[in-house]
C-alpha cells in the first residue's frame, strides 16, 4: 500500500502526541517513598481489613465501588453482546469456532479437565486476599472451562439461562453485601460485617473472600456469557 495522506496525517498527529508523552516521560521521576495513599494502605490494610494482599484489599474494600462498577461493565457487555447477537442469529450451519476439530479426544479431555479448571478457578478467587489472584483472575479461569466446552461442542450442558442466573444472583448478593456494610459496619462495602479472623488464614479478612468469590462467579459467568454469545449457534438463546 502506498503512503498516502490518509496515513501521513495520523503519523504527524501521533508524533505530536508522542511529544506530549515524551514530556511526561522526561518529567517523570519515580517516588523514593510511598506517597500518602500508598503508605496508608501499607500500614493500615492489615489492621483495617485483615487481608495479606494489599491490592485485593484495595480492590474489594477501599475502592470497592470501582470494582462494583467494573463487574457492572462486564455485566453490561454481556447483556449488550447478547442483545446485539440475539437479533442476528448465525445462519444455519455447523456450530463451533471452526478452528479445532472437536474429536473424541478433545471431548473426553474436556470432560476430565473442566472440573479441575473450575476447582483451580475457585482456588484462585478464594485465596485472593492471601496470594496474587482473585475474582477476576479466577473468573477468567472459570470462563476458560466454558471455553473448552464450547470448543468441544458440549456447551449445551451449560445453558445461557443458568449462566445468567449465576451472574445475576452473584451481582445481587454483592450489592446486598455492600448494603450490609452500610448497616452493620462503617460504610458501603465495608468488609467487617464478618469477623476479620486470624491474619493469613483462608477464612480471614472479613467479607473479602466472600465478595471475591462472588466477583469470581460473576466474572466467570459474564465471560462465559460473552463467549457463548459471540460463538453462539442458532440453537442457543
Amino acid at each position: 500500500m502506498n503512503f498516502t495522506t490518509r496515513k501521513a496525517i495520523p503519523l504527524v498527529l501521533l508524533l505530536l502526541l508522542g511529544s506530549v508523552f515524551y514530556a511526561l516521560f522526561a518529567g517523570y521521576t519515580p517516588d523514593e517513598t510511598l506517597n500518602r495513599s500508598a503508605s496508608y494502605y501499607a500500614s493500615q490494610t492489615v489492621q483495617d481489613t485483615g487481608a495479606q494482599n494489599v491490592v485485593t484489599a484495595i480492590i474489594v474494600t477501599y475502592r470497592g465501588l470501582d470494582t462494583l462498577g467494573e463487574v457492572t461493565v462486564l455485566f453490561l457487555t454481556a447483556a449488550i453482546v447478547g442483545l446485539v447477537l440475539a437479533h442476528s442469529k448465525a445462519p444455519k450451519g455447523r456450530s463451533g469456532s471452526g478452528f479445532l476439530p472437536s474429536g473424541e479426544l478433545l471431548t473426553t479431555g474436556t470432560r476430565m479437565l473442566v472440573p479441575v479448571i473450575l476447582l483451580f478457578g475457585a482456588y484462585v478467587f478464594l485465596n485472593g486476599h492471601l496470594t496474587p489472584g482473585g475474582g477476576f483472575q479466577g473468573g477468567a479461569i472459570v470462563a476458560s472451562a466454558m471455553l473448552l466446552m464450547l470448543l468441544s461442542d458440549s456447551a449445551e450442558r451449560f445453558s445461557h439461562r443458568l449462566i445468567s442466573r449465576i451472574e445475576s444472583s452473584a451481582g445481587l448478593t454483592y450489592v446486598i453485601l455492600g448494603l450490609l456494610g452500610m448497616l452493620f459496619a462503617g460504610g458501603f462495602l465495608d468488609n467487617r460485617i464478618l469477623p476479620l479472623g486470624s491474619f493469613g488464614s483462608i477464612l480471614s479478612a472479613g467479607a473479602i473472600p466472600l465478595i471475591y468469590a462472588l466477583i469470581g462467579l460473576k466474572v466467570g459467568a459474564e465471560f462465559s456469557s460473552i463467549l457463548t454469545s459471540l460463538e453462539a449457534t442458532e440453537d442457543s438463546q
Binding site: T56, A90, P91, G98, G133, Q137, A140, L147, I226
Partner: protein, 83 residues
C-alpha cells in the same frame, strides 16, 4: 545493567516487535495472535514491576480471553462471509 533491566529491555523489544507485526501483517489472524503476544510480554513485564496480580490478570484476560473473543468473531464472519 542489571539482569532486571536486561530482561525488561528484552521484553520491551519483543512486545514492540509483536506490536509492529500486528500492525503490518496482512493476515488478521496473525495480527490477533501478535496482539495476544504483546499482552503476554506485557504481563511478564508486570511481574518484573512487582505486580503479580496484574500479571495474572493480563495473562488470563488480556492475552487469553481477548484472543479467543477475536477468533470467535473472526470465525463467525468467515463462515458467513464465504457463503
Amino acid at each position: 545493567m542489571t539482569l532486571l533491566t536486561f530482561m525488561a529491555a528484552l521484553l520491551a523489544v519483543a512486545s514492540l516487535g509483536a506490536a509492529v507485526i500486528a500492525l503490518v501483517t496482512r493476515s488478521t489472524v496473525v495480527a490477533v495472535l501478535s496482539a495476544g503476544l504483546v499482552s503476554l510480554f506485557a504481563s511478564v513485564m508486570f511481574l518484573l514491576l512487582a505486580a503479580p496480580d496484574v500479571a495474572m490478570t493480563e495473562a488470563a484476560i488480556g492475552s487469553g480471553l481477548t484472543t479467543f473473543l477475536f477468533f470467535f468473531v473472526l470465525g463467525r464472519i468467515r463462515r458467513e462471509g464465504t457463503k
